[in-house]
């Protein structure tokens, strides 16, 4: 019995196992070191946690777009980051206009809601265009092909927006109504972070109810279960796919505005790439194709990114830990793909069906 198990174990498995143990030890050492040295007060930790939750809820909203499309078409829409950029970038001008006319100061809630609707509309339009031009003609092609068009479309969108709005950085105006702090269980938390977090969670709940409770949500679930049978039952597949892209686009657009409120700077034509990849990481982390998975995955990634540099990397004595945020997200992606490709809740990437 033992010899047979040993014979089946390849050296790569062995190395992976050893590597896993080493990684776990390193993480524990890092955390223990930081907590023993007491570098940060509990107030600072709370700040990091809330910032992480706000950032994570933005990732979660974008990740839902990846997961929805994957669930229906078994395809990764690599241009989704650009859909997010389109909404965020276009709304900068509306926000600037609202700020100049004083509308943003006098009735902030209404102004922000209009901004979110505008961003969602722009992103949805881009997502639908993408579906119609780049993906629909290739629905029966080998799976590598729509990916190529996604990359091509991503280049095209980036430089179209650069052509439309210019290459320089823009920033969202400060919203005075959101600039204060609120006391939550004894910690001072910036109001923006709370608003972003709860608004995002609200949107996620709305999406969940839509998919679970409405008729068109039921059609979506049916198509993701089995496209051919769903068609036999009289479901219009094209319409479901269009709805899916529209929902993903709308959520990405809303995420763009939230990002603008939370982090006003850094709006430019290339802004979609990193959030796109990170949201994809979040979707894989939660189990791609799984809607609650994307939500939890996004929040977890936000927390890991926010807490990781200070709690693990710094404890290992690596300087300027905060600059390694991006590296942490990609390391997480590599580790999940190696050790748990099905994610926390979900389905194995690329081995499902087809």
């Amino acid at each position: 019995m033992l010899t047979r198990t040993l014979a089946r174990l390849s050296w790569v498995d062995l190395i992976l196992r050893v590597f896993q143990i080493i990684a776990a030890i390193v993480i524990v050492i890092g955390i223990v070191n930081v907590f023993r040295s007491n570098t940060y007060t509990s107030n600072q930790w709370a700040t990091l946690v809330f910032a992480g939750l706000a950032q994570g809820s933005i990732y979660a909203l974008i990740a839902l777009g990846y997961t929805l499309v994957y669930g229906i078409l078994l395809m990764i829409n690599f241009a989704h980051g650009e859909v997010y950029m389109a909404g965020a970038f276009s709304t900068v001008f509306l926000a600037g206009y609202f700020s100049n006319t004083g509308f943003l100061q006098s009735s902030p809630i209404l102004a922000i809601i209009i901004m979110i609707i505008f961003a969602a509309a722009v992103s949805t339009a881009i997502a639908l265009l993408l579906e119609r031009i780049a993906y629909r003609p290739l629905r029966n092609a080998p799976r590598l092909i729509p990916l190529i068009t996604a990359i091509g479309a991503s280049f095209t969108l980036q430089y179209t927006f650069r052509g439309l709005y210019g290459a320089e950085f823009k920033s969202y105006p400060q919203v005075p109504a959101l600039s204060g702090t609120v006391n939550v269980i004894g910690f001072d938390v910036p109001l923006v972070q709370l608003v972003v977090f709860f608004a995002a969670v609200g949107l996620m709940i709305a999406l969940y109810l839509y998919v679970e409770r409405t008729k068109s949500g039921k059609a979506m679930r049916a198509v993701s279960e089995d496209k051919d049978v769903a068609r036999l039952m009289g479901i219009d597949i094209d319409r479901v796919i269009v709805t899916t892209f529209a929902l993903g686009g709308a959520l990405a657009g809303a995420a763009g505005v939230f990002n603008g409120l939370f982090r006003p700077q850094g709006v430019f034509f290339f802004m979609g790439f990193f959030p796109g990849i990170k949201a994809f990481t979040a979707a894989v982390l939660g189990g791609i194709g799984n809607i609650p998975g994307a939500m939890i995955g996004g929040l977890m990634l936000g927390l890991i990114e926010s807490l990781g540099p200070n709690s693990i990397v710094e404890g290992l004595g690596i300087p300027s830990a905060n600059q390694l945020k991006d590296a942490i997200a990609f390391s997480v992606l590599v580790l999940i793909l190696i050790y748990r490709p099905q994610g926390i809740f979900g389905e194995r990437l690329a081995e499902k069906k087809a």
Binding site: L16, I76, S154, T156, Q158, F280
Partner: protein, 316 residues
């Protein structure tokens, strides 16, 4: 064997170019040969083994960084530095490869993307060592049998090495290993039932493609006399993957043509419009939508048409 002869013939044809075109175009063609050759190597992985990698610029850039860092930081002589650069890429490929080939399809794509971004991130962030976004300038070319400081001399140098690598790629593709890769692509369960070790076959394809990329990466660093994080970037990997698909996987010559064609097209577009990536992106979408088999799929059609014409005349 036939294809080796074609490579040598094309090499001789290209060797005439310095007498025809200006120095500017010759430099551009040198660059085109470098990226075309890189795409041809990647075809072994993407076409033959059907493993879409979007992180192979890692090996292209790492070998360049290896040379540049060895020369500028450690004062190594140039030829040993070339060895260090190749070794660095090869070690990275041997570390990444066995891990990555356990994934399939989109998961493989994702993990290569993650690896590529990790290396890119470390290179740009570790600025005290790699000089970050600014890159490392001032790398001099090595001495060779002839003077390769001139544009013409470097063109012949690149051509010689590209011919050698291409012949190696063709021999590899026609060897039993190359053919078994096609088998793995078509049905891995059947191949493993026949007793082939699937993971090791895929690792071989991964490492060979990486080694080819590393060699062209060194040609690239000496051509530019500079290395920056652009050589490790996601965009370059995507461009290479697109070259393979647009050129026509498995044909080897298609990816070479597409890879080098994109370089020339890009330079021509930069001259006329600021938004060349937009045009390039549209071109990818259009070419994939209308020509799913790639450029190489045109050849049989053209040949059939010629044969038809010829037959038509004979019967007249």
């Amino acid at each position: 064997m036939k294809r080796v002869l074609i490579v040598i013939a094309v090499g001789f044809l290209l060797a005439v170019l310095p007498f025809i075109v200006s120095g500017y175009w010759l430099g551009l063609i040198t660059q085109a040969v470098i990226l075309g050759g890189f795409a041809m190597g990647l075809d072994l992985l993407v076409g033959f083994a059907r493993m879409p990698s979007i992180g192979h610029s890692t090996f292209f850039g790492l070998s360049g960084y290896g040379v540049a860092l060895a020369v500028t930081r450690f004062d190594v002589a140039i030829w040993p530095a070339v060895g260090i650069g190749l070794l660095l890429s090869l070690i990275a490929a041997l570390l990444f490869g066995p891990l990555a080939v356990r994934m399939r399809g989109l998961a493989f794509l994702t993990i290569t993307l993650a690896f590529g971004q990790l290396t890119w991130g470390l290179t740009t962030r570790w600025s005290s060592f790699t000089n970050g976004e600014n890159g490392i300038p001032g790398i001099s070319r090595p001495s060779f049998l002839w003077d390769i400081e001139t544009v013409v001399g470097y063109f012949y140098f690149t051509l010689l090495i590209a011919i050698a690598i291409s012949i190696f790629i063709i021999i590899f593709a026609e060897s039993p290993v190359g053919i078994s890769l096609l088998g793995v692509r078509n049905s891995d369960t059947r191949m493993s039932a026949l007793g082939y070790n699937i993971h090791s076959r895929r690792t071989i394809a991964f490492v060979v493609a990486a080694a080819v990329g590393a060699m062209y990466g060194i040609l690239n660093v000496f051509y530019n006399k500079f290395i920056g994080p652009g050589s490790l970037s996601w965009q370059l990997s995507a461009q290479m993957l697109l070259s393979v698909v647009v050129g026509g996987p498995v044909s080897l010559w298609g990816p070479f043509l597409a890879g080098s064609g994109i370089v020339i097209l890009k330079t021509m577009l930069i001259g006329t419009t600021q938004r060349w990536p937009m045009v390039l992106g549209l071109l990818y979408v259009v070419s994939v939508v209308f020509l799913p088999g790639g450029i190489a799929s045109l050849l049989p059609k053209v040949r059939a048409r010629f044969e038809k014409m010829f037959r038509g005349r004979v019967t007249e």
